[in-house]
């Protein structure tokens, strides 16, 4: 029943693509037959009601899905044409190229602010190199001015919004090609949300940004492309359609997308 609608030009400029991907938790199929493309220098929003599998898809993209006991995925995730599930790319290399920001800020509790930012860097780097990278990453995450005088303080002393930007900085420090964000603002207040959203549009100049959100207004505000997902009668998540955000929100091809966007359910 799912027909993935992806325009051809999107395929061409997409460094990250998903082909016929299904993801399982043990016996349970969470999403099935999803095909998507994520373009460089653009924000792609994955939206849909709770349980539609949008987060599961996101977690397959950096293979963090499979660390849950019994979880696995079938199908292809192509990073620059190479299947990350079946190739020479190690999981570690994949995760360095495809960074992730989680739903709740998860700074490493025993590390300082600076220590958090450089946690993913090669340990062989000199201290001054690391500090240089940390400053760049913190500036990239629009956090530098707030923390530059307290880099050695514990990261847990920051506010929730600052912690989330710290987690973004931590992901930026390893210079990924793609940045995945799993409802990055859902645990934040409106002002912190605004700063993260501004950050996302700034970051989209450099990366392919994939953002899961259940907030349609947010998807409309921040994304260039949108995918709408929905669970079928068996609770299996399916892609309904994927297109430019402007088109999804004005002329969706699928009736269910229109119903969701106009607030008839979800």
């Amino acid at each position: 029943m799912s027909t993935a609608v992806t325009s051809d030009d999107a395929q061409a400029a997409a460094p990250l693509r998903v082909e016929n991907l299904s993801a399982f938790y043990g016996q349970r199929c969470a999403v099935a037959g999803v095909t998507m493309a994520f373009r460089a220098n653009a924000v792609t929003a994955l939206m849909g009601p709770s349980g539609c599998g949008k987060t599961t898809i996101l977690r397959c993209l950096n293979r963090i899905h499979e660390i849950a006991p019994g979880a696995y995925a079938v199908g292809q995730v192509l990073l620059d044409g190479e299947d990350v599930y079946d190739s020479n790319i190690s999981v570690i290399e994949l995760r360095r190229r495809v960074g992730m920001v989680f739903q709740r800020p998860n700074p490493f509790p025993t590390l300082s602010i600076a220590g958090n930012v450089v946690a993913g860097l090669n340990r062989q780097m000199s201290r001054s190199q690391k500090l240089e990278v940390a400053e760049k990453a913190l500036r990239g995450a629009a956090l530098w001015d707030e923390v530059k005088d307290k880099l050695q303080q514990p990261a847990t002393a920051l506010s929730g919004g600052q912690q989330q930007r710290l987690c973004i900085a931590r992901a930026l420090a390893v210079e990924p090609e793609v940045l995945l964000m799993d409802e990055p603002t859902s645990s934040l207040d409106p002002i912190s949300t605004l700063s993260i959203e501004e950050l996302m549009s700034a970051l989209s100049d450099r990366f392919a940004l994939v953002v899961v959100t259940h907030n349609m207004q947010q998807a409309a505000r921040i994304s260039d492309y949108s995918a709408f997902m929905l669970a079928d009668e068996q609770g299996v998540g399916r892609l309904v359609e994927m297109d430019e955000t402007a088109k999804i929100f004005t002329k969706p091809s699928d009736r269910r997308t229109e119903d969701y966007i106009t607030g008839r359910f979800g």
């Binding site: 963090i64 660390i67 995760r95 960074g99 993913g120 847990t156 390893v174």
Partner: protein, 288 residues
């Protein structure tokens, strides 16, 4: 539906208040009895022990009956050596096993390890002592501090194992996922992120395990055996503070009774200090 339905009448409210008061009183009374008993023991030991508790008691060797003075310095050192060796044996084993259970704790093997560890922690310490005797004393035909350390290590192992497992488990999954998502290997994320976050709880478990064995007496009877002399060689019989308390307490001499009380006080103080340290490590400031 009448207005009274679901709304208790005035006297029923009174009954509920009375019951509530009685319940609160009963639980508080029981808690007080426990606390008072504990305070009485502590107070009595302190009162009795303080009389013989002086610098000589802490720094001198035991003297024969009839001579005044003398102390338990060799017992203090012996206990520190014996417990210290037990910590060295039990900590790496317990920590690594706990880590294994926390990270790969599914399936029959980890379940079996957990079960056996619970069984061992329930074995009376005298039986553990007997086991150490059979293994490390009888074949060599003489008592030794190391055999006592072995018995202590067996007593500590289940405690360290389960507290380390719990400590590592209590690190939020999101923290570990965050580390893995940065491209850290399982090993690096465990060593650099997860274990440091679990460290306060692990240290607390270790301190409590030390406190648990510091006052153990039964396994010492036929392992370390005790000694009247300075002895630092762990392959030899060694003086032990709890053993000295035991020997002095069952002796017929008044001066030895006093020293037994002082020894008991010292043991309680040591355990108290360990427990306070365990609390401090876990406090928010220690956690940082």
């Amino acid at each position: 539906m009448t207005a009274a339905e679901g709304v208790p009448s005035r006297d029923r409210v009174g009954v509920r208040h009375a019951l509530s008061f009685a319940g609160t009183f009963a639980t508080a009374a029981c808690a007080s009895i426990g606390a008072i008993a504990l305070l009485l023991i502590l107070g009595y030991v302190a009162l009795q022990g303080i009389r013989a508790f002086n610098w000589a008691f802490l720094t001198q060797l035991p003297v024969p009956v009839g001579e005044p003075g003398g102390g338990v310095a060799n017992g203090i050192v012996g206990t520190i050596v014996t417990v210290g060796l037990a910590v060295v044996i039990a900590t790496p084993l317990g920590l690594l096993s706990g880590l294994f259970l926390a990270l790969f704790g599914r399936g029959w093997f980890p379940e079996a390890v957990r079960f056996l560890s619970d069984v061992v922690s329930g074995i009376p310490s005298i039986a553990i002592g007997l086991f150490a005797y059979t293994l490390l004393v009888a074949p060599f035909r003489h008592f030794s501090a190391i055999s006592a350390s072995f018995a202590f290590a067996l007593l500590m192992l289940p405690l360290i194992l389960r507290t380390s497992e719990e400590a590592v488990r209590s690190v939020p999954r999101a923290i570990r996922e965050g580390a893995l998502a940065l491209g850290l290997s399982e090993f690096a994320s465990t060593m650099r992120i997860v274990l440091p976050a679990a460290r306060p709880a692990i240290i607390t478990g270790l301190l409590l395990a030390i406190a648990r064995v510091t006052g153990e007496t039964a396994p010492l009877l036929f392992t370390a055996f005790g000694s009247q002399f300075w002895e630092l060689n762990p392959t030899q019989p060694m003086a032990q503070l709890p053993l000295q308390v035991f020997t002095y307490a069952i002796s017929p001499y008044q001066s030895w009774h006093q020293q037994a009380w002082a020894g008991a006080l010292l043991l309680i103080l040591a355990v108290l200090v360990l427990n306070v340290m365990a609390r401090l490590v876990l406090s928010p400031k220690g956690r940082r």
